[in-house]
Amino acid sequence: MTAGSRIRAILIKEFIQLRRDRLTFGMMVGIPIMQLILFGFAINTDPKQLPTAIIAPNPNAYTRDILAGMRNSDYFRFEKDAVTEAEAREGLQRGELSFVVTFPADFGRDLVRGQRPQLLIEADATDPSAASNAVGAFNRIVDDALRDDLVGPMAQEKRGRPAVDVVVHRLYNPEGITRYNIVPGLLGVILTMTMTLMTAISLTREAERGTMENLLAMPVKPVEVMIGKIAPYIGIGFVQVTIILLAAYFVFGVPMMGSFVALFVGLTAFIATNLALGYTFSTIARSQMQAMQMTFFFFLPSILLSGFMFPFLGMPQWAQWIGSVLPLTHFLRIVRGTLLKASDLWDILPNLWPILLIFTVVSTIALLRYRKTLD
């Protein structure tokens, strides 16, 4: 019986402590809800509504039928009706477009003559799984779309060979190797986890060990504390980067096509942003434990909604909005762009400024939250 009462003593104490630690309690409730929503609604392994540009110099009934078929298939969402080749190329490069479909100028004429015109679909294959279903469906969509058009003298085209020769170009990752996508992504994921955690405990540790009061009593400004606490980890971050990039190149054979300057700039911004974010957590959390929980709470959507695990463009709009607030989302585009798509500094700009914006907002919050007094 005494063992029972001792167990009860510990049990009751644990309950009291758990009840007082509201954040932990919130996490226990919040994490399952978040997981359910993210996995249940946001994540889609068969991504639909992927942004597509069409190059159709001479639109006619046949091209319109094919476009209608594509639209009805739900896989493709047309961003712009008519674009130039250069615009389409840039869109793919920046990750704003998943597909470019090019109709040759003589498409209609050749089709009518039964000359099997070529229809080119270029896919951003950096993430092979994102593109494969849509590409796989494309042949059938074209056939179905033309079935009703090919009547009378053209009916013969329905038999035997397809009327259109669909050419698929998987850009940036022609063999569809998954690790080309995963390994650069891991760079971002690892940095998100380690960098955020490092600074998340930095201020709470001072508070828990009692050194915070002394720090406050000495003539040091909040921004000086922040820079001093963040800067060393930028160096540590680059140690991690070196290890991962060496392994990516030598072990996994990931191509490194783009500008190293662009990659370096992107990395510096990304690492600093994660560190600032962690530091902000530590100005909010009241214990190291809470800071770690907050980091975890942030890490989960970063992995799921950034496009690391699941295709970003295949998520519903609201999930893409949430994803756009996460630095990892933008960094993944930068790292995949610079390694696989030969991006330069100019190409990464659309993804660099959101990271810098997040950095500015987060740092401002941290400096406002940093208590100069013990009030």
């Binding site: 060990r209 009692g210 050194t211 915070m212 009061e213 002394n214 406050l216 009593a217 000495m218 003539p219 040091v220 100069k372 007094t373 013990l374 009030d375």
Partner: protein
């Protein structure tokens, strides 16, 4: 800095945490070069008052200045010009003594840093231990490190919050010798404590209870102001006699020290009458005694609130 300006001037400082008023209209004046003892039971508001004076807490009302700098508007200057030793050891346990001091020297932009650190190590006898990690030090050495760190930048005002809590008597004595030496050099010191012998080493004391100042002055003044008289009973004095005495008219406190009883009361006539009744008992030796500061504080504590937490 004008020599006549008080090192600390505080008028009606008040601080509330939620419903509770922790510091209630505390006024304080500390002249330059003085050692002032800040006394009071646990939770009486000593730490909160000191934190307000150092700019670490913002008072809800009242004004104050340290070394002529306003405690709200000029907290940055205060931080640069005073030394503050926190109640809890607040240096880095995973840094050595020297590394801790170097950290502080850099924060205060002391150059050449090495000279400042060396001089401070020398001064507090920390040279031989400078490579030891702060976490491995005993209470007395930790406190010495803390004092070293807060006087290195040569402040003109030192605020020490229960600096000798948990420190052995010899280390305490050495510590106080240090404080007096610093005061001789012109440093002003405000030190909070609840050790009576330490209070007696201060030039002046301020006693605070439940957030209010209830006594101030030199030790002699505070004792005299209390109006207490004390009798010492020697001999076969024991717990039973002490209990009995407590119930007698005029007796307010009975404290037992070995076989000696100190009987204290504020009504001198009634106390005298009571003591006289015991004078005839065999084996008891009764003589007038000196009221100690401790007796005064026990009385102040019981007067200003029975329900101490």
């Amino acid at each position: 800095m004008n020599g006549e300006v008080n090192a600390i001037e505080a008028v009606d400082l008040t601080k509330r945490f939620g419903e509770k008023t922790v510091v209630d209209h505390v006024s304080l004046e500390v002249k330059q070069g003085e050692i002032v003892g800040f006394l009071g039971p646990n939770g009486s508001g000593k730490t909160t008052t000191i934190r307000m004076l150092t700019g670490l807490l913002t008072p809800d009302s009242g004004t104050g200045s340290c070394l002529g700098f306003d405690i709200v508007r000029e907290a940055d200057q205060i931080k640069r010009n005073i030394g503050y030793m926190t109640q809890r050891f607040s240096f880095y346990e995973d840094l050595s003594i020297r590394e801790n001091l170097e950290f502080v020297a850099r924060l205060y932009s002391l150059t050449p840093m090495k000279d400042y650190v060396d001089r401070t190590l020398e001064r507090l006898g920390l040279v031989s231990r400078q490579k030891q990690l702060a976490g491995q030090l005993s209470g007395g050495w930790k406190q010495r490190l803390a004092l070293a760190a807060c006087i290195m930048h040569e402040p003109r005002l030192l605020m020490l919050d229960e600096p000798t809590a948990g420190v052995d008597p010899q280390a305490r004595r050495e510590f106080w010798d240090q404080i007096h030496q610093l005061a001789d050099e012109g440093l002003t010191v405000l030190v909070s404590t609840h050790y009576m012998d330490e209070a007696e080493r201060c030039h002046r004391i301020v006693y605070i209870s439940y957030g209010k100042v209830v006594a101030r002055g030199t030790v002699e003044e505070v004792i005299a102001d209390s109006g207490l008289t004390t009798w010492v009973i020697r001999g076969v004095a024991n717990g039973a006699l002490a209990e009995e005495l407590r119930r007698q008219p005029g007796v307010e406190q009975v404290a037992q020290f070995g076989t000696t009883l100190h009987v204290v009361g504020s009504d001198a006539v009634a106390l005298r009458a009571t003591v006289d009744r015991y004078a005839g008992r065999p084996g008891l030796e009764i003589a007038p005694g000196e009221t100690s500061l401790e007796d005064v504080f026990i009385r102040l504590m019981s007067q200003h609130g029975e329900a101490r937490q």
